[in-house]
Amino acid sequence: MSKRWGIAIDQNRCIGCWTCAVACKAINNQPLGTYWNRILTSRPNENAPTTAPATLAIDVPHGTFPDVQLAYQPTSCQHCQNAPCEKVCPVNATFRREDGAILVDFERCIGCRYCMAACPYGVRTFTWGEGQYAPEFAVGYGKDYRSAGRLVFTPQRPIGVAEKCTLCVERIDVGKQPMCVDACPAGARVFGDLNDPASAISVSIQQQGGRQLLSELGTDANVFYLPVSRPNKVRS
C-alpha cells in the first residue's frame, strides 16, 4: 500500500512557543509577513473558534474570568484527502501526490486565489508583492525542488502565486521529517505513515482519540490533533 503521510499534534504538549512556525519560516525562506504555519488558540478539545469573537490578542485565554481556558492549535495546511483547494484550482496547479501531500506548482499557478476562497482552514497565503527578507539571502532549503517535474518549492518566491505548507516534501522524500516536527522542543509533533497501523502516528491517534479540524466538512485531513484531556493520556 502506498504511504499516507500525516502529522499528529499533541495539544497537551504544545506550549505555544511558535518554534514550529519560525522553523517553517526559516527552512522555507518565507518573505516577511508570510506564515505557512501559525499558532492559533482555542478552548481545550475544540477547534479554534468558528464564531467571532476570537480572542482579541495573541495568547489570551478563552472564556470569562474566572472560567478561562487556553489550548494552542498550531495550524498549517491540513493536507486533506478530499481537498477543496485541489478541486477548485482551474489549472490543476494545486495537486495531491499519492502520499497525501498537497502541493502547488509555482510555474503553473495563474494567481486567481480561488483556492484561498475555498480553503476552510484559511492556511493558504499569496505573494502579493515582491517578497522582503530579513536576511537578504536565501536561508534554509536554498534550492528549487521538483516533484514529478513540477516546481513545488523555490527559495525566492515568484510574485502573484498562491503558496502554502509543502509538508517539506524535499525532506520527506529523502527520509527526513518535516522541519516543524524536527524543531518542536516539546515533542508535540509526530510524523509518520497513516496507512501503517503500527506506525507511531497511527497508534497515538488510535489510542489518544486524535481528531481532525472541521472534520464535519469531510475534508479528511492528514493532520490530527491529540486532545488536551483524554482518557489514555500518556504521561512521560
Partner: protein, 412 residues
Amino acid sequence: MTNAKQLASSRYRAWLGLLALLMLVAFTAWIYELRYGLASTGMRNVISWGVYIVTFAFFIKLSAGGLIVASSAEVFGITELKPLARLGILTAAACVLVAAATIIPDLGRPARIGNLFLHPNWHSPMVWDVAIVSAYFLLAAMDLRVMCSGSEPQRKHKLLTMLAIIGLPAAFALHSITAWIFGLQISRTFWNTALLAPLFVVSAILSGTALIAIISGALQRFGGIRLEGSTWRKLSGLMAVSAAIMLFFLFSEYLTVLWGNVPREMVTLKMILPGGAFSLLFWLEWVIGGIIPFILLVVLQTRRRVGAVVTCAVLILVGVFAFQIELTAVGMANPLIQLAPGTSIGTYTPGRSVFQFVGQYAPTWVEYSIVLGLIAFGALLVTVGYRWLGAREFLPTRAARTDEAMQKAVHA
C-alpha cells in the same frame, strides 16, 4: 438643423473622449499593478477577493438583460420588446466581454492565462465559467451577425428564433455557474446555499433589464429615439416582478439562518443586518435598490414616466451592486476558523504588525481606476456598436412617431 447635428456630434465626440480618457487611466493603473504586483490593490490574505470579482459578477449579471429581452421577444413573441432586440444583444455581448476582461487584472499572473485552456481542471466551477462565458459571447456575436446580415427575412427569423431558444438556457447556465463559483464552497457558510444560483439568475434578470432601461432612457434623451409606452411598461413590469422575487429569495435565505440560529452562520448575517458593520449594504440592497423602486414601479404607476423608470433602474443597479459587494466581502471576512491571533495578512509594512484579528479590505486607487476603465470600456463598446451595427434602425425615432401621428391625424 445643422446646428443641432453639430451639437449632437460634438457631444458624441466628448463622450467618446471621456471614455477613452478613463480607459487610458485604467491602462496606466494596470501597468502599475503589473509592475508592483497585487500588493498595489487593497486585497490581502484574509479578504483575498475584492472589487474586481465584484465587478466581474456584476457585469455577468448585466449581460443577462439584453439577451433575455431579445430572446423573449423572439421566443414568446413579445412584440413590445422587439425594437430593443438588437440593442439588447449588443449590450449582452459588451457586458460579457467586460466581465471576461475584469478577470485579467485580478490574476496574480495574467501572462499565464492560457493555462486555463492548456490545463483545465474540469472539477473547478471557474473552468465551467470560462466555458460558458466564451459560449455566451459567441452566441451573442452570432446573434448580432444574423441580425445585421442581409439575408431574407424569413430565413433570418428562423435563425434568430433558433438562437433565442439556445440563448435563454445559456443565460440561465451563465448565471448559475457564476453563482456556483461561490455557492459550492463549503468553506464559506454565507456562500454555501443552494439558493445562490436562483438568486443570481433573478438578480441578473433584474439588473440586466435595468441596464437596458437606462440605455434606452439615455437614447431617448440624447439619441433622438422614442420608444412606445408599451415597451416601457414591459421593461418596468419585468423589473418590478424580478425585484420582488429577489427580495423574496433574500428573505427566505435570511429567515433560514435566523430561525436556525447556528452561530457560525449568524455571525455573518449579523454583520449585514441593521447594527452590523456592513449594514449600509443592507439598506442599499433592501430599501434603496429593492423596496423603493418596487413601490415606485408598481404602486405609484410611475412606469408611465420615462424619467422615473430610469431612476428606478439606477436604484436597482445600486442595490444589485451592493448585494455583490456583500456576498464577496462579508463571505470572505468570515472564514470558518475565525480570525484568531496569528492571522497573517501576507505583506510586511514596517512599523505595523503583520498579525491581524480581523480581515480588512478597502480598494486602492489602482482598483478604482481599473474598474472605472472597465465600465468605460463597456460603455464604449455599446456606444460604438450602436452606430456601427445600426441598432438604431430598429428603434422608432421621434421623426417616425411624428409622421405616424400626422398620418393618424390626417386620416381622422
